[in-house]
């Protein structure tokens, strides 16, 4: 399967009469976007705002971040099974508004988390401070249930991202990158000498606020299975996860999965990247056993020499991670796992909730409990008062001058367990 990604670079975002992309600027008609959101009768009002890199803006609480993409050529549309038909995606041409994102916000539950600062200390920790963001703020109708609100907001994000993506459909991209995965037989013929590597992608799947969808299916109802890496670039996997801001995988992370990207970089040179095994992180221990059995079995069936395993979330996923690692190593397949740590504010507590000696190659996204100081911002998009009640915030987190003292875990994407960031810990 072969996919061309056409990058249209976005360096600025502005409101305008007409939505369009011109000379690297994304112009957005605010009213059209609002109308699009309000098509959903679950919302009583909607607003959109802009947040550019370097601006003194704090966005909170962040639910999801989505990169605008559009299918130019080839079967299906972006986010299959969610907003496009359930066509198999991942081939042909997809254009990307590189440097832009849609950020959804909303108080779905009382403690919901996630901060993106566009400047200052916080900005260093989140990749989304480098993007030109269109921020969606919408109010649900009274009495809307939490799960309905979550779903409505999730779909609002996709719809706005699709709307922006459409603007790039007929544009000539600034750069085109080609990603191709041959079938197993061809791959073996092409690179007989190279070590064969697969990627085991763990998806959070525990219930309300903790869900991930694959082609529209709730991942907790899936068996461990395989995807072509390029399917994920077309939005085959989307996030419905609202908790654990620092180490949840947003839809943006899935679309730009860094492990997939970096394995493709080496594909055909130092390794043969054969594909992606996706597996879930369910609550039921028997599910954990089954799912990790299957990842090991699929890795064996693929005849790979090594795998990279990435994680999502805190606590019980450590058990899935270790099970996956242990069982795959037991098949004689080498593993590297990517995780993050909760080592306490002073860094001296045990980092993971599970451990095994076979996990001897670990990459860490950092200690999510480390305390950081976020300076006050001129403008807050969203709901400032939630600062005290977000994960990692504590009584008195929000100071009178608008600055915040909190654990790193408040920052969206800060300790990402796909290895999206440079942050590490020792």
């Amino acid at each position: 399967m072969k996919l061309e990604l056409g990058y249209v670079f976005i360096k600025d975002i502005q409101f305008a009469e007409q939505s369009k992309v011109e000379n690297g600027t994304l112009y957005v008609n605010k009213e059209e976007v609002k109308a699009l959101i309000l098509e959903d009768q679950n919302f009583k009002s909607a607003d959109v705002e802009l947040a550019r890199p370097g601006e003194s803006i704090r966005i909170m609480p962040v639910k999801d971040v989505i990169e605008p993409r559009v299918k130019v050529d080839g079967p299906g549309g972006i986010f299959p099974g969610m907003v496009s038909k359930v066509e198999t995606v991942g081939s042909g041409r997809t254009n990307v508004l590189k440097g832009a994102a849609v950020v959804t916000t909303g108080k779905i539950v009382g403690f919901q988390e996630g901060i993106i600062d566009m400047t200052g200390t916080g900005a260093e920790y989140t990749p989304f401070s480098k993007l030109n963001n269109l921020v969606v703020v919408c109010e649900p109708v009274d009495g809307l249930k939490q799960h309905e609100h979550e779903k409505a907001l999730r779909f609002a994000g996709y719809k706005v991202a699709m709307y922006l993506g459409q603007l790039a459909k007929s544009l000539t991209p600034d750069e085109v990158h080609t990603y191709e995965t041959p079938n197993l037989v061809e791959g073996l013929k092409l690179y007989p000498e190279l070590p064969r590597v697969a990627y085991v992608l763990m998806l959070q799947s525990q219930g309300l606020m903790h869900d991930t969808y694959v082609y529209g299916v709730d991942a907790k109802q899936t068996l461990t299975t395989m995807l072509y890496p390029t399917e994920i670039m077309d939005g085959a996997i989307v996030s419905g996860n609202c908790v654990s801001a620092c180490d949840k995988n947003t839809t943006y992370h899935h679309l730009n999965n860094p492990v997939i990207h970096d394995l493709f970089e080496e594909h055909g040179k130092t390794l043969n990247f054969v594909g992606v095994i996706i597996t879930n992180e369910n609550v039921y221990l028997a599910d954990k056993e089954r799912s990790s059995n299957w990842s090991a079995k699929l890795a064996e069936l693929l005849g790979v020499d090594g795998v990279i395993i990435s994680q999502e979330g805190f606590g019980n996923p450590d058990t899935d991670l270790i099970m996956n690692c242990k069982k795959i190593e037991a098949k004689g397949i080498k593993t590297v796992i990517i995780t993050d740590e909760y080592a306490g504010r002073d860094g001296s507590s045990q980092s993971l909730a599970d451990a095994d000696a076979s996990a001897d190659a670990v990459v860490t996204g950092g200690n999510a409990n480390e305390v950081i100081e976020l300076p006050p911002m001129d403008k807050i998009i969203g709901y400032a008062e939630v600062a005290d009640i977000i994960a990692g915030g504590f009584d008195g987190s929000l100071h009178a001058d608008g600055s915040i003292t909190a654990e790193l875990q408040v920052i969206t994407g800060a300790t990402n367990e796909m290895g999206f960031n440079k942050l590490s810990a020792r």
Binding site: A357, E370, G419, S424
Partner: protein
């Protein structure tokens, strides 16, 4: 300018090798030996005002005396920083560097730094309490060691924020600290996997905790002749808990005499444990600490005898480190008392 006191052994002071290791601690003004390289590396920001030279044997054999003498010498200089070594792979020198650095830090409250090879016994002893820069295994690595130690020394003396071990060059000390690496995590993972696949060296970013797997001892040869002791984490203590063992996160253990005690009763014993329903343990403490059954076995000749003392603590949330510490202490006593085997009971 920042003032530094430097500690070195007889070898680096050019006094001599092993045959001169007995020389006592001596203070010399200014730079001696490797101090010169440090002085240059400080680039005018800091000055070595004095060097303390001490023979390795003298230090290790007159530990308390040497420590007191050296601390006095350091105190008089009133420095901003104390550097010991680097000791490379010299074992006694490494232990001396760690010991004296620790003492200076604790008693004088000034920042300290030392350096040694990772396999130097001093490294394991002190890496969690001191900044120890990881050096090569011989003095040929001096240049490299100074290059890593000098910048960290200045940061410590200036009381600047100290970054993660990977950035600053000190040995990982069990305290996790964040830093921005050169490459993003996914790229580091790909590189690590390639190294692992090709059998090359790689360093995990998070070492899994040590799994303390204890190999079972050989079976007791003749249990009919063996002295058996009872040890419990179930919190059984003489009623009233005379040593005040905590009901959770215990910081101590108790040792109690059961000479002539045939049966633990509600009137005489109880549990101090706060982590389980104590009703049944209190009605009959033998349920947790089976003295009655062992007395029976003793009478029937099935065991040699029950040891006169039992040891007890509360396992409820008690740190593994503490529990290990307790056992290390009383295991010595059990051995000295000629106990052949121990029955460990929990809750």
């Amino acid at each position: 300018m920042l003032k530094v006191v430097h500690y070195i052994n007889q070898f680096f002071a050019n006094i001599g090798g092993e045959e001169m290791a007995h020389v006592p601690a001596e203070l010399r003004e200014g730079v001696v030996g490797p101090g010169l390289a440090f002085q240059q590396a400080f680039g005018g920001e800091a000055e070595i005002v004095a060097t303390i030279v001490c023979g390795d044997s003298y230090f290790n054999e007159n530990l308390e005396k040497a420590k007191t003498e050296i601390i006095e010498m350091v105190k008089k200089q009133n420095p901003d920083l104390f550097i010991a070594g680097p000791a490379f792979n010299a074992g006694r020198y490494g232990v001396a560097c760690g010991t004296i650095a620790q003492a200076v830090k604790e008693e004088l409250g000034i920042p300290v730094l030392t350096g040694m090879y990772v396999e130097n016994p001093g490294a394991d002893m002190f890496k969690n309490s001191l900044y120890i820069v990881s050096t090569k295994n011989s003095a040929a690595g001096m240049k490299d060691a100074v290059k890593k130690m000098a910048p960290l020394a200045l940061k410590l003396a200036n009381k600047e924020n100290i970054g993660a071990s990977a950035e600053e060059g000190y040995m990982p000390n069990g305290v996790r600290k964040n830093f921005f690496d050169q490459e993003r995590g996914s790229k580091r993972a790909v590189n690590m996997l390639l190294n692992k696949l090709s059998g090359k060296e790689y360093v995990t970013e998070f070492p899994m905790p040590d799994f303390d797997r204890v190999a079972p001892n050989p079976a007791v040869k003749d249990v009919r002749k063996a002295t058996i002791a009872l040890v419990t984490s179930g919190g059984i203590v003489p009623k009233g808990n005379p040593d005040h063992i905590e009901s959770s996160s215990a910081s101590k253990y108790g040792k109690y005499d059961i000479e002539g005690v045939m049966d633990l009763t509600e009137e005489t014993f109880a549990t101090a444990h706060g982590g389980y329903d104590p009703v049944y343990a209190n009605i009959d403490p033998d349920r947790v600490l089976p003295v009655d059954v062992l007395r029976d076995l003793e009478k029937e000749g099935k065991i040699g005898k029950l040891h006169r003392y039992f040891y007890t603590t509360v396992g409820n949330g008690t740190a593994v480190k503490n529990a290990k510490g307790f056992a290390e202490k009383f295991a010595q006593e059990l051995k000295a008392d000629g106990v052949d085997a121990v029955i460990l009971t929990s809750t």
